[in-house]
């Protein structure tokens, strides 16, 4: 889509357009689809994001493994009971939504991978909460998602958005950076301020490893989505106040990519390092996988038995 944030910025400047407009135009141009089609596809994603956040806040959602769940609901109820969060009324709700979406994901519910399933809570958490706090329309949010996708495409192109390739910095770091650019645009910042928000977010999340317990998208992923929302808000406020990243945004993205490539494989989604390798992490993994091994032995056998009555088997 774009080679660099610099390319996005110069296009936006040359055409005197906001970032979302140049992303929509580029998407329509490269895919041969009409702007209306492209727009409708993104609007549908916003609806799924909203549903997933609402689902995760409406009841305690448990994960498939049983290891996690219900924390977004717990926080939401705590807020509803009138407690005053130190993170304030906006960030605390963004955190709850971000975790809600990731819990729905871990429960095999429907989400939008943004950019991945493991980091799917950050954009809905940030954008839906900004909408609630500032009264943005759904159309504003769809625009914001295009801005986010343009930033994500540059990160995917120059670095990575996959935990297996670049660690958690590439997943929740990218998601938070995308949300920061989108948030700055929503709140009236310039394209340059969006780019600096990307740089500030990513800088604050460099080196973050991907160390999921039992290899599942649960621990620490769910809480890392909360952390990503918080990092995003820090960068939005800094950028809107005119704070700039000393290191230019594209160079920060490149640094993230280099760190990811040099990161020990134990910290890249293999579940062999970090939290996954703690005594408790290993114990949980053994518990979950031994249970799952039992199921594996049962299920195919059951299927084979059922099938043997009406179908020949060459086993």
């Amino acid at each position: 889509m774009f080679e660099s944030l610099a390319e996005m910025l110069s296009l936006a400047e040359a055409e005197n357009q906001p970032l979302h407009a140049i992303v929509i135009a580029r998407e329509a141009e490269t895919t041969g689809r009409s702007r209306e089609e492209v727009w409708a596809a993104m609007a549908r994603r916003l609806q799924v994001m909203r549903q997933s956040a609402e689902e995760g806040l409406s009841r305690p959602v448990r994960s498939l493994s049983g290891m996690t769940g219900g924390d977004a609901y717990r926080l939401w109820q705590w807020l509803a009971a009138g407690h005053e969060p130190v993170t304030g009324p906006i960030l605390s709700r963004a955190i709850a939504r971000a975790m809600a979406v990731n819990e729905v994901n871990a429960g095999m519910g429907c989400i939008v991978a943004t950019p991945t399933a493991g980091s799917a809570g950050i954009l809905p958490g940030v954008l839906l909460t900004l909408q609630e706090a500032y009264g943005f329309s759904d159309d504003d949010l769809v625009n914001a998602l295009f801005t986010a996708s343009g930033v994500g495409a540059v990160i995917a192109r120059r670095a990575s958005i996959a935990g297996a390739a670049g660690g958690c910095q590439a997943e929740t770091g990218s998601a938070a950076a995308m949300a920061a650019a989108a948030g700055v645009e929503l709140l009236g910042g310039s394209p340059h301020q969006s780019a600096h928000a990307v740089a500030i977010t990513l800088k604050n999340m460099l080196g973050l490893v991907c160390d999921p317990v039992a290899g599942l998208v649960e621990v620490p992923c769910i809480k890392r989505n909360a952390a990503g929302a918080a990092q995003c808000f820090i960068a939005i406020d800094l950028a809107l106040a005119g704070v700039k990243s000393v290191i230019p945004p594209d160079e920060v993205i490149d640094a993230m990519g280099r760190i990811g490539r040099r990161m020990d494989p134990r910290f890249k989604e293999t579940a062999e390092g970090g939290l996954a390798a703690t005594p408790t992490g290993r114990r949980l993994a053994r518990m979950i996988w031994s249970h799952s091994e039992d199921q594996r032995d049962r299920k195919p056998e059951g299927q084979r038995d059922a099938a043997s009555t009406n179908a020949p088997t060459t086993e």
Partner: protein, 226 residues
């Protein structure tokens, strides 16, 4: 591998049932492509899980996801959770195995041996990240496609003029070929041909192709990625 520009919907998407874009959404898409290559709902499916698919697949629902795809579901279908039961109810026999496809195989790979009636195909596919997938072999032939384009798969006798005839049919139906590939084992044997197109391939074109005696079978593979 088919190269194309990154789309906004590679980044914001897919819309999917969790928990993992590679182990769940990608697995659904691989199953769905397997079903399309067979050309029918399998009556019997042997799913050989390789690498990370075998190691951590269960906890990510990879087994249910592959079967959901074989049943024709998309990545956002809420019935993915119940796909093993649905397969049983639909009379689809499913057998899971652990396989070693070698060091060169992608860690998230599956070998699907699918059978319906007298048709059987063996498809090797990989989930390459973010829900993106790649079919890497059909019936032992190395071939590569991703479900991002409409495709026509033709298994035919290796003889002169086959591509001329096939592309002639494309011209008749005013279809533009985006990518094409031909693989064969040995001269005069069986050749596998893949054509990816920008627009939908009409069923009549596939039927017309199958009327040629040198065409063993031809299959339209619909685009499965938005």
């Amino acid at each position: 591998m088919t190269k194309r520009a990154i789309s906004a919907f590679d980044i914001i998407g897919p819309i999917m049932v969790g928990p993992s874009s590679s182990h769940t959404a990608g697995a659904v898409r691989l199953g769905r492509l397997g079903r399309a290559i067979l050309g029918a709902q399998p009556q019997r499916a042997i799913l050989g899980l390789h690498g990370s698919f075998a190691r951590t697949g269960r906890g990510h629902g990879t087994d249910r996801a592959l079967v959901a795809g074989l049943l024709g579901m998309a990545t956002d279908d809420p019935r993915i959770r119940e796909s093993l039961d649905l397969a049983r109810a639909a009379g689809m026999e499913v057998i899971f195995r652990e396989v070693d496809l070698g060091e060169d195989a992608h860690p998230n790979s599956v070998m699907m041996t699918l059978q319906a009636g007298d048709q059987e195909v063996e498809v090797v596919g990989a989930s390459v990240g973010g829900g993106m997938v790649e079919i890497r072999a059909v019936n032992g032939y190395p071939i590569s496609f991703t479900g991002e384009h409409e495709a026509l798969l033709v298994v035919a006798e290796d003889r002169p003029g086959t591509i001329h005839v096939i592309t002639g049919l494309f011209l008749d139906y005013e279809l533009n070929i985006a990518f094409s590939r031909v693989e064969r084992r040995h001269r005069g044997g069986e050749a596998i041909q893949l054509f990816e197109t920008d627009d939908a391939i009409p069923d009549e074109l596939v039927a017309a192709l199958e009327d040629f005696y040198w065409v063993y079978w031809a299959r339209r593979i619909p685009r499965i990625i938005e």
